[in-house]
Amino acid sequence: MRTITSKVFSPAIRIVVLMIITTGIAYPLLVTAIGQTAMPSQSNGSPVILNGKVVGSELISQSFTSAKFFQPRNDSASGVDPDITPDSAVSQIPAISGATGIPVNALKTLVDLDVARNKETNALVFTPDYVNVLNINVELVKQYPDVYAQEVSAKEVP
């Protein structure tokens, strides 16, 4: 009886221990090592950099309190949807133009450029058109530094 029991349990325990080491430790650590070495940006959350400073993750929505920025959605499945539809972006243009004095046409062009850029990321066909809110807002700050000086100045920590 004793031998039968040990014959059933011993290989089961050993195989579990081996697989914990192989699949639970070695495999994720190897992927981590390769990721951190070869793809550090993606491995660490795809940071967006403006003027040498990290201003957020391209993939994670952040809130914008100033009316001069495009706003993300406030519902979404994940709660951190970084994107809005082109229609939603276009509908925000008049208000942003009003708050900043940037011409409506220029804003529309920025929206179109961001849509085109995202299309490329998705090999043209794999998603519907969308606008990445952080990217387009960073583009605004880059192109109109004077308009946004006050909004982004807070991050100049003394």
């Binding site: 089961a12 940071p47 201003v55 952040q62 951190v80």
Partner: protein
């Protein structure tokens, strides 16, 4: 555009399944594989440590016992990790309650991945990695191994069903790890993070500071989809941009979910006859096609759906995920159209279109046996399968496999209402809340894992009830299916023309209709009370 996405998913997964299916056929019959020498050496090292003789054969009872014992030990380990993660390294979090830890361990060992916890908030990196990623290999490998033993029952005579430890080792080392590894690198490239830190602190554009939960996401995500697991690193699952960053990752994850379930009928085709295997694949694809057609017949969202996936990308992913019993979600179920939800129920009720890794294929064979029996009755012929007589015991076992599922769904659904637990969690009984309860138990019993309730169901009632249903829903059918295979392997086979051909257009048609009729007859009244009334 949408049609291109659909074609890429179907052609990609079927194309890869042809390659994988051929490889699995070699695993089943121990044929020489590419790199046989190197892989053989590594495997032999494992067998030596495990202490098994790789030529030793198991009866169906020994094979089933080995699955159960290995799974129990693995689940015990996971449960201990979850209970005591506060004492373990890598950003410890408070240990889970006993009922939640039991539910989670049962959920992951049964390939279900129903999640009554919020991953990024409640689990440490150690639990996600050493606990869950490990289990995400164990569960599908057990299912695939069972399918290997099952198939051997039909192609071998009195030679045993193989050795579980050998199958399990070979499936993990030479199939799941390599594919998961390269898929993780691709997902990483597309934007899934991979780090041992639990959070990342970043500035915001307006000068604030944000803390974003992260971890070894890419390495979990690949095996989550490949292994028909479905348990997300984040509670938002594949709708979270770190798990599913863009349209390409969305399509790739769909292919990953489909590839192994579609490979098994191809392996079967290599071993048991091309016509028979392709017919089973065709029946699976017809069922999957019905689910897709239902889902795509109505547009979903936009509330609850991620902008980068839209209605089409969300519906395609979710129907694929439920069809393969993966249960991953790239959108909130509450955002999906009623027709799409009916498609989800169809997939969970049938469990074989194409179903989970390993078990989907076995379930379809059970439907084949039931179909042969019923059609045999109609035309007055003794039912035979692969030149072997189907005896009353086989039919009883097959019918029992089929009936376990409705029993495990409908009885607890009724209990949830009579005990008041459904009311406590969801409030007034409406078609919508009834649908959520029915869905929870369908998902648990089918070892699917998609759900409406999520952390809402983290109460002792839901944790204990769904845990036991997942366990019975997993091991009872596998045991019975192996018993069927065990009795076929002893049977005489004569090379004669089958009285009812199990391949060809006619059989595919009859099988598909039979699957649909059996399922509809069983569940229709409950669908009328739930999703049909929303």
């Amino acid at each position: 555009m949408d049609i291109i996405i659909l074609l890429v998913v179907l052609v990609g997964s079927l194309g890869l399944a042809v390659i994988f299916g051929r490889y699995m056929a070699r695993l089943i019959t121990y044929e020489k594989r590419p790199l046989e020498k190197t892989m053989g050496q590594v495997e032999n090292g494992f067998y030596r440590i495990i202490g098994v003789d790789r030529y030793e054969q198991m009866t169906w009872k020994q094979y089933f016992l080995a699955i159960v014992i290995t799974n129990v030990i693995a689940a015990g380990f996971l449960m201990a990790v979850l209970l005591y993660q506060n004492n373990l390294p890598l950003s410890p979090k408070p240990g889970l309650s006993l009922d939640l830890a039991f539910n989670t361990a049962a959920s992951f060992v049964t390939n279900t991945n129903l999640q009554h916890y919020a991953g990024e908030q409640q689990l440490s990196i150690f639990s996600q990695m050493v606990g869950l990623i490990f289990m995400m290999f164990v569960a599908p490998a057990s299912g695939i191994a069972a399918a290997f033993a099952f198939i051997r029952g039909f192609i071998r005579k009195e030679f045993g069903l193989g050795n579980f430890y050998v199958d399990f080792t070979r499936i993990i080392l030479t199939l799941l790890i390599p594919v998961a590894f390269f898929s993780a690198l691709l997902l990483l490239f597309l934007g899934s993070p991979q780090t041992l830190d639990s959070t990342i602190t970043m500035g915001t554009l307006q000068g604030g500071v944000q803390t974003i939960p992260t971890g070894p996401v890419a390495s979990l995500e690949s095996i989550k989809e490949l292994g028909s697991n479905g348990g997300g690193f984040f509670s938002a699952n594949s709708s979270h941009p770190f798990e599913n960053p863009n349209g390409i990752s969305n399509v790739f994850e769909c292919i990953l979910m489909l590839v192994i379930p579609l490979s098994l009928p191809i392996a079967y085709a290599h071993l048991i006859g091309k016509g028979r295997g392709v017919s089973i694949l065709a029946a699976m694809m017809i069922g999957f096609g019905v689910m897709l057609a239902l889902g795509l017949s109505e547009s979903s969202g936009p509330a609850g759906l991620e902008t980068r996936f839209g209605s089409f990308g969300s519906t395609l992913f979710l129907e694929t995920s439920v069809a393969t019993n993966t249960g991953a979600a790239n959108a909130a179920l509450s955002g999906m159209s009623p027709n799409a939800v009916i498609g989800f129920f169809l997939g969970m009720f049938v469990q074989a279109i194409p179903g989970a890794d390993g078990t989907g294929m076995m379930m379809m064979i059970i439907f084949v046996i039931l179909t042969l029996f019923l059609v045999g009755l109609m035309v007055g012929k003794t039912p035979e399968f692969m030149s072997m007589k189907i005896n009353p015991r086989d039919v009883k076992l097959a019918a029992f496999v089929f009936l376990i599922h409705p029993a495990l769904i409908l009885i607890p659904t009724v209990l949830a209402y009579t005990t008041g637990s459904a009311h406590d969690t969801l409030g007034a009984t409406t078609p919508a809340t009834f649908t959520q309860v029915l869905y929870e138990y369908s998902s648990a019993s089918a070892n699917n894992g998609s759900d409406y309730l999520g952390t809402l169901a983290n109460t002792p009632f839901w944790n204990w009830s769904t845990a036991w249903i997942m366990l019975i829903g997993r091991y009872a059918p596998i045991g019975l299916m192996l018993a069927v295979a065990g009795s076929f392997t002893l049977r005489d086979r004569k090379e004669v023309v089958e009285p009812i051909k199990t391949s060809g257009f006619l059989f595919v048609g009859v099988l598909s209709v039979m699957v649909f009729v059996l399922t509809a007859l069983t569940f229709f009244p409950f669908l009328v009370m739930g999703p049909f009334s929303i």
